[in-house]
Subunit: 283 residues, 2 copies
Amino acid sequence: MKLSWIQGKSQSSTAANLDYYSQKIKEAAQKNPAIIFLPELMTSDYFAIKQDPANFKLALELDSPEIKEFQNLAKQLKIDLMLPFFEKQSSALFFNSTIHINHQGQIVSHYRKMHIPDDPGFNEKYYFSPGDKGFVVTQCQEAKVGLLICWDQWFPEAARITALKGAEILYYPTAIGWDDNEDPSVYKSQVEAWTTIMRAHAIANNVFVVAVNRTGREGHLNFWGHSFVADPFGKILIQNETEESVNHLDIDLAEIESARRVWPFFRDRRVDAYGDITSKWLS
Amino acid sequence: MKLSWIQGKSQSSTAANLDYYSQKIKEAAQKNPAIIFLPELMTSDYFAIKQDPANFKLALELDSPEIKEFQNLAKQLKIDLMLPFFEKQSSALFFNSTIHINHQGQIVSHYRKMHIPDDPGFNEKYYFSPGDKGFVVTQCQEAKVGLLICWDQWFPEAARITALKGAEILYYPTAIGWDDNEDPSVYKSQVEAWTTIMRAHAIANNVFVVAVNRTGREGHLNFWGHSFVADPFGKILIQNETEESVNHLDIDLAEIESARRVWPFFRDRRVDAYGDITSKWLS
């Protein structure tokens, strides 16, 4: 099956971003992928760079005309579309979400980011309520995809539960970048750690990982791209650099079962001894 | 603090192995390390290469004279010694274990491998009962060490619970090798996956990882060495190749807290949503 992903750059306004990603989706669709993956919060600039009440107006409701446009596009192009956006549930609650729009244009799954960061330049706890839908696996035409978002990637628990629910591909739309306020000497090791932890989720669960990052500069953040696909042994099949790009890769889901015959980790999990994982600290 | 580890090669008999590792421990102690780490099942050949009832006689009881020798050695050298061995509890039960002998020669902690593999060349389920002591963190003079063994390294749950119990260093004594019956084209990617998953445990938990593998050929297995130490960002500080060696490294445990300020993952764990991790499968 063919996957496509868009390592995209924000165009400064919601209207411009919607137009930009619509064009990129049409471009990707020319290669007849089964699924098209987009980066985190793709409908706007990465507004969480600072706290500003005015930014809440950037959120979209699930039944907004903007989302409807993408439903029409998925139906027209007959593709499964993974759409990460800033979601307004009501005037009271906002989420960092992904919806899966299937090839008939229907919203079939809806995930709300479970792990919310809050660090200098990434003020997400100000905007987003932590996800209230648990971990979500969605059935595409050709694969089961686990919907996770960015900061979730640092938590093996999220990858594990999503894999237990049957995910064959773990999808991490991301907005991670180098910060001008940090020493450039750490830039390389940050990308390395970010890549390594997701490769490990592929290995531990014998699944594919698709990580799709933003690229381009926004204020003091320089989104680092480096989107990649890893196979069920954690091998990187392809990794972007920092360029804006529409990307394609053929993968073979049968490799999941092959990997599970070589390293049958699920057989040996000590679920009788994992109860402590629901503790915050044990020392 | 200084760590030492011995990437050792089996000497074919228990007597020869005990003598070999005693000599290597004395050699390591000359550099005044705080802790000396040894590889998995270091008291004998890797007998689990096949099923043979005669091999059960290789097991040692906790109060055996052989273990007592190592207690004397740790006391004499004033070091914390991590000793992985084939443990006989009774005629009925055998374990793949590690004990921590402190600088006064006392056995202060005892871990029994929780995850037991069973694959061609690694018939461990035939010999070892799965660990019944849960996950163990032991207090050394200068650090808290999490005791894990080999196959445990593929399970993020084990690393996480051990870290929650306060481990600053996750220690994985290991017996992993290339198998003559496998295609050599996979050798490099096996070492890469093995290294990657443990680096990810360092990253996810902001702790050090010390992996100490056997080296040398035993039958159709060629133990691949590549012992390493990773820092709390998952960066490999040092990695052996396949040589027999006595190794030393100075580490700074303050890097754990620094890493936790940059990437404060523990703050954001969704312990309310992790209950499903105690399931074998959810699909």
